[in-house]
Symmetry: C2
Subunit: 385 residues, 2 copies
Amino acid sequence: MNTPRGFRYASTYAGIRKVAKDDVALIFSDQPAAAAAVFTTNRVVAGPVTIARKNLRSSAGSMRAILANAGNANCATRTAEQVAVECVNSAADVLNIKPNEVLPASTGVIGVELDSALILRVLPKLHSELDAERFTHAAAAIMTTDTRLKTAYVSVGGAHIAGMCKGSGMIHPRMATTLAFVMTDAAVSRSALQLALSNATGRTFNRISVDGDTSTNDTVAVLANGASNVRPPRKAFEEALTEVLESLAIQIVHDGEGARKLVTIDVAGAPSDAAAEKIARAIANSPLVKTAIAGSDPNWGRILSAAGNAGVVFDPRETDIDMQGMPVCRGGLAADFSEDGLKQKLDAPDCTIRLSIRGRGKGSARFWTCDLTEEYIRINASYRT
Amino acid sequence: MNTPRGFRYASTYAGIRKVAKDDVALIFSDQPAAAAAVFTTNRVVAGPVTIARKNLRSSAGSMRAILANAGNANCATRTAEQVAVECVNSAADVLNIKPNEVLPASTGVIGVELDSALILRVLPKLHSELDAERFTHAAAAIMTTDTRLKTAYVSVGGAHIAGMCKGSGMIHPRMATTLAFVMTDAAVSRSALQLALSNATGRTFNRISVDGDTSTNDTVAVLANGASNVRPPRKAFEEALTEVLESLAIQIVHDGEGARKLVTIDVAGAPSDAAAEKIARAIANSPLVKTAIAGSDPNWGRILSAAGNAGVVFDPRETDIDMQGMPVCRGGLAADFSEDGLKQKLDAPDCTIRLSIRGRGKGSARFWTCDLTEEYIRINASYRT
């Protein structure tokens, strides 16, 4: 795989999480990188999100490093912002860069004090171990309830884009989701990067849902250091970035807490793309649809009912639904299909739901979710214990 | 208990549901009753809801009977409205009243044809067995995944109000929830009755959530036949009706699919009552909060995060949270509490969450929900099988 030139990575166990598994990651760009980020829209915002926003502003979007930890969200504590600032300052010291060139990020439990000393102590080690080959190590260090590593690589012209992310629960983005870091050696201006990121997250990270909760720490950040000396056309770069983010977003849903199935929802024929997205989101968030999928039950009535709750005006009698490519509902009524046959098809790890409204509407949207299983409950009823 | 005068009830097994348990209920008023109702806001609407609305309009809110069935929602089928009309016409025939004096209601699976012959066949039997003492029989006949009978009785002046309802899943009202029928022998005008019902549902049935899904069949109907010759003051009647509906609504949440705990959420100090309700609703709908309660985990960070997603502007640093009356969060930060002690208290079947925002806001709201357990998944992954 071709990772972007001019980036190095390191990770280590700092003792933040209970199990001895790497919990701090450092990403470093050998030269200043144009940076863009989108953050949670939750009113409750973690310390590192506040500091990351501030640093992006004061550095005019020029970044050298990302410092991330798992095991503690550094949110809703007395010292949240102070801890983030201390970590950023010390990292800048060690890396010999400016504090506002460091983007901090955290994930984990909310409301528990994070001891900055734990992170400060490992910064020299992280610095000395920075290595272009340790991309996946860094990706592993930000995992929480994740069961799989989540990475994606795309090339555009002669430039490379590599992304990593974490996320499994508290997934229901309004702006971004969880933590995702994307590095590219393409040469992209700050403003073009932010626009490309906003457009790309709108079609990827804002189109996934595991449980309808939006975290306090959501951050998607892109660093473009230009080390390839390739300046891809704007459109081509945005498409490549979208491809990376779509792959990461789908990996999150695939690894949704307790999930056994990835569900792709397509809505077509809505009055507008926004309306289509609303309908798709309502279906994706319905626990009754998600449990039906878990049980391989072709219960299209729940899909139609969820769509009816989306706050979009449409005529159920003009609505067709397919599951796994089989017609289950035509004109709001049961289609003629083999229930046993479809039940078997729904046992597959990939499920598709397609809802289309007949008529003149041209609005469409794709959304991803997962099934809702007993394992989700088990994971979340005992997350802290 | 004092049931309202002038009402009689009957129920029987018509063969709609698979298990041989009563699935049709008939409620009859010996004299014309003022009737008011609120219905689902889902765009997908069951046949009986359409016909009930039509009958209420054409009879100017004068009703004699409610005909309800469980086991089939009579929704999203070719014949839904036609079946509702046939049942209403036949019931009117048998009862010797006008068709538009019958309010139909259905609950059960969506998208499966309901055979009207099953209901038509049992109408003479239901008619002949009408009995003032069979109130609870009728209440039992409308149960689906319910595990408990849900009834409530209140007296106001010399008049009586008795309510029954069903509901366990697909509970997240925007207008009403599931099926609820309230009978009173108070003398109340049609317009006063509709106003009282709208106000009362706003504070009760619209303040509960089991799973965030709004059904296609939700109906709350009140019949006031005046048989007591008591005309209670408007305010007193509304309060008594609210008491009945609150009791029924709480019984639904208590019996939420898979629920082991009733959770009462109070929000205070919000910019407005509507804002308080939004925050309470966001907490009530958060799967992460609901699974934490299931695990007796005093994870107040999830409560604060859910509140932050409500779309209400407030300062987390001004926010206090109590669970079971114990402070767990003060000013957006962890309060000093015994985690083990609180864990034990959270094992109780009744849990309380109180979120209050310091400052000048006077908005408050109470909301009810239940914990989210593995049993919810089991029930809904196999509902139709």
